[in-house]
Symmetry: C2
Subunit: 228 residues, 2 copies
DNA sequence: GTCTATAGCGCGATAGAC
DNA sequence: GTCTATCGCGCTATAGAC
């Protein structure tokens, strides 16, 4: 997001014969408008996917006209990139719970809890990411090949360290992370399915707490981190 | 699928002044054409989602003209329904591995293996289903509220029976099934992401065998079914 | 039954008034 | 900066020849 905003910010005309105060006002309203449109993009892209979403619906969701959306983001694709950029950082950040100086049970429980919290708090972003991956991940390729790969290898080493020091079962870190990502994100991704099958709101606080406990129990015990 | 095909079959005009032999030939070519188009629908819908897919691309994939696609399926939406119908049965069928007369470790290991096999064999169908669920599950609502709910409650009882007889840890069956679905399907759903991150083909036979072993180990042990 | 050609329209994007 | 009005493309769906 940040790059996107800065890029456009730099290329926009500036008022030259007006007061600094006025300029600041404009900057503030720019920010508000941008935030509104990005938020709307999150919701609508998360609901409909890239092709299913229309700029008209995004504009309506943001409470502005279609032309205004195109004023801030030249193309639909630009807006989509802007929205995606936000999720990448949060995604990478949560993995910092996995640290070698922690006990594996503690670190992994925190990571799982954090991912679940995130699915509950930002279901649209989670779904948006899922749609992107499902449809070939073309737009997020650079991030996956760069940041993701790097972080995964770094955190994989932490897991292998825990295994080497006999703290947990010898489980391939890559598959372990895939498991954690899948089990946590599924609560946002398949919310509609869960509601239809169980009759309960999948992102309800109580339901999610129970889910978190279950996932934590199965995974931690499955790794040999709970003995009982 | 079957309903769809039968419905359309019944409503189509029949040759009246031609031989039975000719009629049979027509029926056979009808079946072939239908199968080609449905298979193409699977691939293209699985690749692009409903809105991203175009009837032109489906026609090309099937090796027929756009008009021919519309001849067999009046609307794009009809074809989509036809494709979805196929996945529902397989989905429900795999759960039959979970039976009260089996040992839980055996039954669940088989079920997990079956789901993984399925993800490897029919990645397009798996992705198609995922896209459908992600975008609100409107089109599969009847199936979810009917068959899915019914099966889940039946199989949930099996799990609870195992728990009651002290064979496994007291884990909520619903969340357990969500875990199994998420961890197995993710290999088809996030194939693109996995390739970018690991540099390996996520649906490769060896990679998948390792994944199956890892998932089985963690889940079975996590349920108290492996003691070591 | 399958094709080519085209109707009809929804959508992304832009021009231009305010 | 935000709007209304509109352009023009690309898509679904159909008409009609073979």
């Amino acid at each position: 997001m940040t790059e996107q905003m800065l890029d456009r910010g730099r290329s926009l005309p500036r008022a030259k014969d007006t007061s600094q105060r006025n300029h600041n006002l404009h900057v503030a309203s720019r920010k508000r408008a941008l935030a509104k449109i990005l938020k709307a993009g999150e919701v609508v892209f998360g609901r409909r996917g890239f092709d299913g979403a229309t700029t008209a619906e995004i504009a309506k969701e943001a409470g502005v006209s279609k032309a205004t959306v195109h004023y801030y983001f030249k193309t639909k694709s630009d807006l989509h990139k802007g929205v995606l950029d936000r999720i990448l950082n949060v995604w990478a950040d949560a993995l910092n719970e996995v640290r070698a100086d922690r006990e594996p049970a503690d670190a992994l429980a925190r990571y799982i809890a954090r991912k679940m919290e995130y699915a509950r708090k930002y279901p649209e972003l989670t779904r948006l990411w899922a749609i992107e991956v499902l449809s070939g991940a073309k737009r997020i390729q650079p991030f996956l090949r760069g940041t993701s790969r790097q972080i995964l290898s770094k955190k994989g080493k932490v897991i292998r360290h825990w295994i080497a020091t006999g703290k947990m079962d010898p489980i391939d870190p890559t598959h372990l992370f895939f498991m954690i990502w899948a089990t946590t994100q599924t609560y946002a991704e398949t919310e509609a399915q869960m509601i239809s099958i169980t009759g309960k709101d999948a992102l309800d606080k109580v339901f999610m707490r129970k889910a978190t406990n279950t996932i934590s129990h199965v995974i931690l015990k499955g790794l040999g981190l709970i003995k009982v």
